[in-house]
Symmetry: C2
Subunit: 331 residues, 2 copies
């Protein structure tokens, strides 16, 4: 994406999205962040706010008209706004529907109204459910959904593909593994850090510790997005984004405890799954993005350490989340 463009990033104040905003600005693009600050942080947009090519529009993805106005003149929409927490689906199923599926529909309608012809979408490897083939390629056997989060993202993918066909929109669908790095503020590294800070002698662990997971460092993730959008030019471009590495929960616990210099007793909840709809092993085959020449710069272990260092230097994210009333309002 060497040519200067104007883009809008939904959920721009979020973890991955705000890193993307900074990188787009650094590359010389004009960027509008669209966020309702329900889970995003003003703090994450502080560096961007100093840039004259940056605009912030406060709005909800349920507000199609406002999004369409914010998109005026844009070449590309990066749709990253989402309910990103896979674990609470069964408690609040409507949230996934509204914030992932209907929100994506609204983004597409706003694009149609504003005449924007390119979209990049943050999907998830959770849509592979309990995969028949591991590592799981993009054209794996038609999966069965196991989580409301995955189902809501799959619905978003389908909508984007149908809009590409019907309205000539070029689309990039990225199926992320779990992302690590600066501004990370929920997920297992966060949870473990918080628990170990409260009690470094004992740690409750979901499942039996053998759940294998794959991770990607956020700057490597943004590199991959840019590589794909430069080199892949089909109408619909679907890419797994992850590395050729994976780890299990016990390994990552070892790295975390090593870095924090603690030796807790582990108390395993047991079972193969951390929560309902969790999969014991999610490991997408990322050959397709590797074939474009992209390579990750950090290993999973390095990504986890970097993430811990970020949290250590920004402990406000521990108390600011998930109760937004306690978030800092520095911006």
């Amino acid at each position: 994406m060497s040519k200067s463009m104007k883009c809008l990033v939904t959920g721009g104040a979020g973890f991955i999205a705000s890193n993307l905003v900074d990188r787009l600005l650094a590359d010389g693009h004009a960027v509008t962040a669209y966020d309702n600050f329900s889970t995003g942080f003003r703090e994450f947009l502080r560096p961007a706010s100093a840039n004259p090519r940056f605009t912030l529009v406060e709005g909800d993805t349920q507000d199609m008209e406002k999004m369409a106005s914010a998109m005026a003149g844009c070449d590309t929409v990066f749709h990253l706004a989402a309910n990103a927490d896979v674990r609470f689906g069964p408690e609040k199923p409507r949230r996934d529907l509204e914030q992932n599926t209907i929100a994506t529909f609204n983004v597409l309608e706003a694009m149609r109204k504003a005449g924007v012809k390119r979209i990049a979408f943050s999907s998830t490897s959770a849509i592979y459910g309990v995969a028949e083939v591991i590592p799981t390629p993009e054209n794996a056997p038609f999966p069965v959904q196991t989580s409301l989060y995955g189902a809501s993202k799959l619905a978003g993918e389908g909508l984007i593909q149908a809009y590409s066909e019907a309205y000539g929109i070029q689309s990039y669908i990225f199926r992320f593994v779990s992302i690590l790095g600066d501004r990370y503020h929920h997920g297992h590294v966060y949870d473990f850090y918080k628990k170990l800070k409260a009690n470094p002698l004992k740690l409750d662990v979901l499942g039996d510790g053998t759940q294998r997971k794959s991770y990607l460092y956020v700057q490597d993730c943004v590199d991959a997005i840019f590589t794909v959008m430069q080199k892949a030019q089909n109408k619909v471009n679907i890419f797994n984004l992850g590395t050729k590495e994976f780890c299990d929960v016990n390994q990552s616990l070892g790295w975390i405890c090593g870095h924090l210099n603690v030796k807790p007793e582990f108390n395993y909840a047991g079972g193969k799954s951390g929560w309902i709809g969790d999969n014991p092993f999610i490991f997408p085959d990322c050959s397709k993005v590797y074939a474009l020449g992209w390579r990750p710069k950090l290993t999973i272990k390095e990504g986890i350490i970097k993430t811990l260092e970020y949290i250590q230097a920004n402990e406000w994210v521990l108390t600011a989340n998930p109760d937004r009333a306690r978030a800092p309002q520095k911006a």
Copy 2:
């Protein structure tokens, strides 16, 4: 499904659903039809209405509370309410989202509220898009959506699968080919009949006539649904419903013109697709349902002739549709 049960059929006044209602009643079950009569016909429920085991609840699938009340005490929900017309997606994209995706979410929430633990869902072979493998099995390579209709049904499938995982609901997902038979009131046989009645000398045909399609007679479809629900007992059961036969548009035109004894000049619009998102060849592999012992009783040709005979005996469907104001109100 030999044991007597209580069931609710959404969209019960529709083409396929009303045939299902009649068959369920004939098998001794208690049946509630739930319909808003936006595209269903009261006429189709006239035979059922004479049965003391039949109840009609007029309501919309957007009304979750009303559906939940109507489901009280039910064993099984047959969710057939839908925007079933694949062709007008690009003109009215919100209709597919609301009537297929959000409606399915509401049905699932109503089931959760009412404690119903089994659902059968009318999905579509349109979700295979431009299939990589033909005939296309249920676990074909992960497809890319080409129509808003397909995308909205895929979203419904994903929701149902996730609800099965999260809330212990047993689900039956049926990917239908085009269905023919009594009470058929939209689709290509309907369109051709209507056009030929207006002008038997000349017929406009979408595409180039070589689009291959597969069809299933509605009573064979209901037989297949019953067979699967008796014999398949996984948590999530996904079945293509069609036959091992297909035809192309020119063949079916030959059968239609032969039956109607007309010899029009064909005026082809040209191109491989009939409309945006139409696929030149949809042919699901139905080995899985055949393996359960089910067999269709009618060929495609016989199904088309039966459908023509129904329309000939019920020409009111030609004027009653799609303008509902002109529908008869005999019930």
